[in-house]
């Protein structure tokens, strides 16, 4: 342990200002602080500090995403296996999933972190750990067959335009991971929608006649459609268990209700994510879901809306992003409710978009400061009145 410290101390001067590699000091600092909690002491104010830091908070979110990621890897292989009728065993399925999902992670982290490091270097900041979470999220919310170069462009767009131009983590208006998805969605719609993009290998098979595991070609009756493609009770009732387990096509990490709930439990227990946003988003989704059911716009009872598509994933991991969500406690209730309500509204009443979660969250990200503004104004007025009476 001391040897490692000595080594770091030995090479440190090279990376400090004026050193040979001084232009890399933010990068060096990022790796050093990753290994060691720095020896900085408090200069002013409180002399002692809580030992929690942003790295710890962020790593909790990353951990919470692990079940969804692991399940997503397995499910990618499993869906491929089903589509091509391969009769694979567990390890084959996982291997295929890894081959498909790992490159997504490599691209998301390489591109995103590279931009983060460079901009930290330019601004002279420490590298912020926020991207650890964004990079973990991005592969989980895209179709597994998305071309890697597209993903790279989308990540670059989201990190530069969505985050760095505003000043980095903590200053951004929109959730960077969702911005990546939105960029892909609007720039390359053919790769982001339809029935064939959600199952690994199908796109390639249709274009080139081969897939990673070509097998005998697609099985008869392969649809590849997600539940959102045809949201009727007749179609979905038999699938309900699959939808909860997650053994359906969809974006990599969004399918399994159980895996997402495991992550939600960790986030709520550690207090990293707001339970108010999660609860109110679910309430909003249920309210509009049942409203649509009551007026006959859909024959699905409201709770189906929660287990379909990206609703739960968005509610647990995206809507609760502390930077882009509402900041006031009362505002969180409003914000969360509107996220859920809007997402389901788009699903039920807008024939153009089968899924509304991404846009609902991005829209509410935009309006979160406005919600906060009115909540605060209201609170200040109420207090002023109370003080006057007293």
């Amino acid at each position: 342990m001391n040897g490692l410290r000595n080594l770091v101390d030995k090479i440190k001067p090279t990376f400090e200002k004026g050193g040979k590699l001084g232009f890399l000091h933010s990068t060096f600092d990022a790796f050093e602080t990753f290994l060691f909690v720095p020896n900085t002491v408090t200069r002013r104010g409180a002399h002692v500090r809580d030992c929690v830091d942003l790295k710890r908070v962020m790593i909790m979110v990353v951990l919470a995403l692990v079940p969804a990621m692991l399940f997503g890897i397995w499910n990618t292989g499993y869906q491929h296996n089903l589509a091509f009728g391969l009769d694979w065993g567990f390890w084959n399925i996982v291997l295929y999933g890894l081959v498909k999902v790992l490159p997504l992670y490599v691209v998301a982290y390489l591109v995103g972190l590279a931009i983060e490091f460079v901009s930290a270097q330019i601004q002279g900041h420490e590298v912020n750990e926020g991207y650890l979470v964004s990079g973990m999220l991005i592969p989980l919310i895209v179709p597994v067959d998305v071309p890697l170069w597209m993903l790279a462009i989308a990540v670059a767009f989201a990190v530069i335009i969505g985050k760095e131009v505003f000043g980095g983590t903590g200053m951004n208006i929109w959730n960077p991971a969702l911005l990546t998805r939105a960029f892909l969605f609007f720039s390359y719609p053919s790769k982001m929608s339809g029935d064939t993009v959600w199952t690994g290998g199908v796109t390639r098979f249709l274009n080139e006649g081969v897939a990673y595991q070509a097998g005998n070609g697609l099985v008869d009756g392969f649809s590849g459609a997600t539940p959102l493609a045809n949201p009727t009770l007749e179609n979905l009732q038999p699938q309900l268990t699959d939808m909860i387990l997650g053994t359906i096509p969809g974006s990599v990490g969004e399918t399994s209700v159980i895996a997402i709930l495991l992550g939600a439990a960790l986030l709520l227990w550690t207090g990293v994510a707001s339970w108010k946003i999660m609860v109110s988003s679910v309430l909003g989704g249920l309210a509009i879901g049942y409203l649509g059911y009551a007026v006959g716009a859909t024959d699905l009872p409201g709770y189906y809306q929660l287990v379909m598509g990206g609703f739960l994933f968005g509610t647990v991991f995206m809507a609760t992003d502390p930077v882009t969500s509402a900041q006031t406690e009362c505002g969180k209730w409003i914000y969360g409710f509107l996220v859920g309500a809007l997402a389901v509204t788009v699903r039920i009443w807008n024939p153009g978009y089968p899924e509304g979660m991404m846009l609902a969250i991005l829209l509410m990200n935009t309006f979160a400061p406005l919600i906060d503004h009115y909540v605060i104004e209201g609170s200040i007025k109420r207090r002023a009145k109370k003080v006057k009476i007293a």
């Binding site: 002692v48 030992c51 929690v52 830091d53 710890r56």
Partner: protein
Amino acid sequence: MSNNIYLKKGLDLPISGEAAQSTKKVIVPDVVAVKPTDFRGLVPKLLVKEGDKVLAGSPVLADKMSQNILFTSPVSGTVAEVVRGEKRKLLEVRIKADAEQEYVDFGVKNVAEMTAEQIKEAILKAGLWPALTQRPYGIIANPEAKPKAIFVSAFTTAPLAANPEFALGADVEYIQTAVNALSKLTDGGVHFSLNSENYSGTPFHKVENVIQHTFSGKHPAGNVGVQIHHISPIRKGETVWTVSLVMLAAIGKLFSTGKYDVRRKIAVTGPKSISPAYVEGYPGIAIKDVAEFYNAAENLRFVSGDVLTGTNVGANGYLGFFDNQITILEEGDKYELLGWAKPVRCSQYSSSRTYFSWLTPKKKYAMDTNLHGGPRAFVVNDVYGKVLPMDLFPVHLLKACLANNIDDMEKFGIYEVLEEDLALCEFVCPSKIYVQQIITDGIALMLKEMC
């Protein structure tokens, strides 16, 4: 008792090194310092020069802005040194104490027969006026003003703070005298806040001529700012005064004995203090006077006050005017391998559930001064609210201060807070933001623009 104000939010810091309730020694002062830096925004005017003889109660400094506000020597002796900093800023006036203490005789007075003007004059002349703090902004009270009310917190929740019953229980009569005097300076009365959990156990509930309030809850329930917020919030244009029990005792002694007697029991505390206990001494005593409480070979920080709000005075420093506590803790200038990534960090405390300190609620931690991370932007938004029992929006207030936006600072409550009220926000902040410094800068801006 019926309308107890229960504050749900807050945090009692589990730091080790509480002072045992015994007086280990009576300090015979050697060199004491009068520090104008103890007072916000004070422009001092030096009234003595090196070599001058002073008595306990002789003026040493005056406030340049209103020169009837005097700062007097706590001991009798000779002015040894005038310490100046950058741009000749006056930092300390060091006084070498005599072996025998002599006091200026201000005359024993009967408070009941005095008018408000006479009381003001007596307090001003003896150099105890700076004991009165004016809010908003936490500056020395303006003698020309008539405050809405005067507030006293008669209990403390700050980490390892001196126990008021032990430190001041014997001075209840003096405190009563001071309350009687000060109540003539305002129409709003003297508000006395007590801890409901220890209401009958404290001698201070017998103090009369006050408006009593009871509070319960964790730190910062004992902060007078938090109490004012719940009793009668400060609105724009209003001023209130606050005064501590320690200072009330000194004011009472002035009227009852005619002496400027600021002797007090001082709690020597902190994880690195050796058998922490109380000493009897003066404000301005040197840290070296409590040398037997620490190991000088270690790399230590000496704080005049508590760990959240005190001043780092260093081994050669002096106790502050308002303080009756010295906290000694270790400088945490060490690296910790993979600290944040370890599942469990037994020796470190965190109020966050991302660690496991919540499993050992009784454990006390030997905290050091390590920052435990690097400074970041505001990211997690609900941590401050959990430790701030005030109906404010702390993050918005801080951002308004950072943006120098006076309108928003007013709106978000800059009149109601001082640094100490948000000190816990700073402690828990995962982004390691210097919350108190931001408030200090905000208040400095308000003082510059509004006064």
